[in-house]
């Protein structure tokens, strides 16, 4: 059998060879976007690693952008929430009425901190607790003290990830290794993460 369309077919073959190779080169070209840019696509594993608290330097640098993307993408957010539920060690849900609120022990001189803002609800669950204690000398700073009743080995050996979620956003922060079952962070009370953490409506997920 002879091929009457040989020149045309040959051209078609050449074109396909070129297009395939060209696309391959484009896909496999390394380091297109600079590392610090937020121009990257989140793959499922990024969310798993975020939830697990992967502490590789490159990844930790990307975490804020990753959180931003999760907060602005309904599909990523859904995966994130589901993974937190699957992998968490313990959870503290939305807090009930104000009756459980405690006034923070500031010295009463700083009027600004006597407002509703300074009323922060400690979190108490069967597995962990979170207490807020305002710094005596710098009232805008708050000690966040995490206590884990029966910590796992990973709580003693690596940073502890705490994910915070509300209906509209999510964030995560890392506590240092536990010492005597406790770990603490010092945070500014106008810090966005702190606001989320101390929000009665937020869910806390300890990994």
């Amino acid at each position: 059998m002879t091929n009457n369309n040989a020149p045309k077919d040959q051209e078609q073959l050449a074109q396909q060879i070129f297009c395939t190779k060209d696309a391959y080169k484009s896909l496999t070209k390394i380091a297109r976007a600079p590392k610090e840019s937020d121009d990257f696509t989140v793959v499922f594993n990024d969310i798993v690693q975020l939830v697990k608290g992967n502490n590789q330097v490159d990844f930790v640098e990307r975490v804020p952008q990753l959180i931003k993307k999760i907060n602005s993408d309904i599909s990523l957010r859904k995966s994130y929430l589901q993974l937190i539920k699957q992998l968490q060690f313990a959870e503290s849900g939305r807090q009930a009425a104000a009756s459980s609120k405690e006034l923070l022990h500031d010295d009463g001189h700083d009027k600004a901190h006597e407002s509703e803002q300074s009323r922060l609800t400690d979190r108490q669950t069967e597995y962990f607790s979170l207490k807020f204690k305002r710094d005596q000398n710098h009232p805008s700073q708050v000690y966040v003290i995490l206590t884990i009743m029966n910590p796992t080995e990973s709580h003693l050996n690596s940073a502890i990830a705490l994910h915070i979620t509300t209906d509209s956003q999510a964030d995560c922060l890392y506590f240092p290794l536990l010492i005597d079952g406790r770990s603490q962070l010092l945070m500014d009370d106008d810090d966005e993460q702190f606001k989320l953490l101390s929000d009665d409506n937020s869910h806390l997920h300890l990994m």
Binding site: T28, I30, V48, D58
Partner: protein, 614 residues
């Protein structure tokens, strides 16, 4: 039965994903987001370092651009089935529960229990059983029931069903994990849907696996329909193939004119399809320059103002045309898989043709990541050469022009963005390097590469890895090198004949024996000793990332990859320098050529970016 893409739930999510991944196309026929998606796969971290091996990602990219992912989808489906149905220590006690329960105010303990119900998440993401060793470990215990058996053998995982069996090679698990990451990143809800579809019902396993495979193929097909669209590439192809054909016509109508092409008469004899394109041509430096001069000034051309783009496309398209010609000349075109209905060649054919030689399609830019085998500047200097390596013999001048003048053009384009004053200054300058300096720097670069290779040799040596020998053999006198090779070969033959329980064990034994043997040789030879001292000092003098301390045994394969790439670079530099010395026998030839090129390029840049175009 799987109904992944039919359920409204998954369909909605699918739409979500495709909306989020913008399908704005680049001139390379892939969307911006497809590029960035693959970038994401390269960057995503794992238990140690990156999760996926670059080679596995590239392999998957190969399947996707060829649209030849059917086999991989089937293999993946079998693997997923095995993971879901292989009993884990605690899964036997639990049945599936929905993980989407409502949130409560109560704390719940983290549970292996919950994860026993998420075997795919555990296998691919939490435990990362995606290297051959971890894969083997994960399936260590054979499992069999009335209907099925899952067992490991030397090749990989053997799955037996009543009517058939299937083997998943341990070395494929990395590529399959990349494929699964793509599938789940595009539609995360599939993770639990796939688990449910494959779990239990062992009588219908094969049917479920095949259904899944076809669902996965559909998903990829849909994705590629949106993100791999060759319209712009086809335009580039037509533009250049027409330009080349018109040059052919000119040549035919004026046979007495100087030859602008060389031809291989042998091929011409075999090819009697078309007189206009009847011979296999080699491009020449003049043709490339002439194409750029034409296309850069042509308002209707698909973007060839940059010398680099013009050069790249004309050589790639020319090569594709020659390759197609060869196929037609040597083979009956009817037998190579032309799909008449679709008007296209089959993915299999294209994949075989394009990826026959992988070394020429490799991007070595990872050499300047971690470990830092080269600095960014060192890599950028040899990058044009490495990218165009198949062409350095025939087009040495074009490659030198690319290295010198396309850099200059890039700086002019940048200046134009800043201000017309800066642009004017830039247009009046000349490139920082001339051809003579370029040659000298290439020789210098070659010496830099040698130092890195020696440092790698020292790393292997310190970790008692016999691979150090292959790194240093070329530094030894021929007689000694032969002697070492012979002694080691004898040891290898002796050991290889012994039956070993596993390939891994055999490799460990051989490595140990080779290393011990080489120690004896090292004691006896001054030369050998001298080279090892050089290696040590090369390592001590190297303070780049990955060379400050002797790395772990686990990461030595990366250093082997580095060694392979560096020797390839060195080989290319050597060939290229030889070509350049033929092109410019004396430094005077070299300077004359440079001066004339400066005037050609300056003239073009003035026309392209000078006052008229402001």
């Amino acid at each position: 039965m799987l109904k992944l893409s039919h359920s409204k739930y998954s369909y909605d999510l699918w739409i979500n994903m495709t909306v989020n991944l913008s399908s704005q196309m680049t001139r390379y026929g892939v969307s911006e987001s497809f590029n960035s998606f693959i970038d994401g796969l390269r960057e995503t971290p794992g238990l140690s370092d990156k999760k996926f091996r670059l080679a596995d990602i590239n392999k998957m990219a190969q399947y996707l651009v060829c649209r030849n992912y059917g086999k991989a989808c089937l293999e993946l489906s079998y693997l997923l089935w095995a993971v879901v149905n292989y009993p884990t220590s605690d899964s036997a006690h639990h049945t599936t529960t929905d993980t989407n329960t409502d949130t409560t105010n109560y704390a719940s303990p983290s549970s292996p229990k919950a994860l026993a119900n998420a075997p795919l998440l555990s296998f691919f993401w939490l435990n990362e059983n995606i290297t051959p060793a971890r894969f083997r470990q994960a399936f260590e215990q054979p499992y069999s029931s009335k209907q099925v058996a899952i067992t490991l053998d030397k090749v990989g995982l053997h799955l037996s069903f009543p009517q058939q069996s299937f083997v998943i090679s341990a070395t494929r698990v990395g590529v399959l994990a990349v494929l699964f990451e793509i599938i789940i990143s595009l539609a995360p809800e599939k993770l639990t849907l796939i688990e449910k579809a494959l779990q239990g019902n062992l009588d219908n396993s094969v049917k479920a696996i095949k259904n899944l495979s076809s669902e996965l193929q559909k998903q990829l097909y849909q994705f590629l329909a949106e993100h791999l669209v060759p319209a712009q590439q086809q335009r580039r192809f037509r533009y250049i193939s027409q330009w080349l054909a018109s040059k052919d016509n000119d040549k035919l109508s004026n046979k007495s004119s100087n030859e602008s092409y060389d031809s291989y008469k042998n091929y011409a004899k075999n090819d009697n399809h078309n007189t206009k394109t009847s011979s296999i041509h080699l491009l020449r430096d003049e043709t490339i320059l002439s194409f750029w001069q034409d296309a850069a000034m042509d308002e209707t051309s698909p973007g060839y103002k940059l010398y680099a783009s013009a050069f790249n496309d004309i050589i790639e398209i020319h090569q594709a045309i020659q390759q197609a010609k060869q196929v037609f000349a040597l083979d009956n075109a009817n037998s190579i898989g032309f799909n008449v209905e679709g008007g296209e060649y089959s993915p299999d054919v294209i994949e075989k043709l394009v990826f026959a030689e992988t070394s020429t399609t490799q991007d070595y830019a990872w050499l300047c990541q971690t470990p830092k085998f080269l600095t960014k500047a060192q890599w950028h200097f040899i990058e044009p050469l490495m990218q165009k390596q198949p062409f350095i013999k025939n087009l040495p001048l074009s490659v030198a022009r690319l290295a010198i003048f396309s850099q200059w053009q890039a700086s002019i384009v940048q200046a134009k963005r800043k201000s017309s004053l800066i642009l004017q200054d830039k247009l009046n300058e000349i490139p920082e390097q001339d051809y003579l300096v370029y040659q000298q720097q290439l020789s210098k670069q070659s010496k830099v590469l040698i130092q890195v290779v020696l440092a790698i040799a020292h790393i292997f040596y310190r970790q008692q890895d016999s691979r150090y020998l292959s790194c240093i053999l070329c530094f030894l006198p021929e007689v000694l090198s032969q002697q070492i090779k012979q002694t080691l070969n004898e040891t290898m033959t002796l050991l290889s004949s012994a039956e070993e329980v596993s390939l891994d064990l055999a490799a460990i034994k051989i490595n140990k024996a080779l290393f011990t043997q080489s120690q004896i040789l090292l004691k006896d030879s001054m030369e050998f000793n001298r080279v090892m001292k050089m290696a040590k000092s090369a390592f001590n003098n190297n303070n780049k990332d990955g060379f400050q301390h002797v790395p772990d045994v686990e990461s030595l394969d990366t250093y082997q990859d580095g060694y392979d790439a560096l020797t390839r670079c060195q080989h290319i530099i050597k060939i290229y320098l030889t070509q350049l010395s033929k092109l410019w026998p004396t430094s005077q030839n070299c300077q004359l050529n440079y001066c004339s090129d400066v005037s050609i390029f300056k003239d073009m840049f003035n026309q392209l970016y000078g006052d008229v175009n402001d």
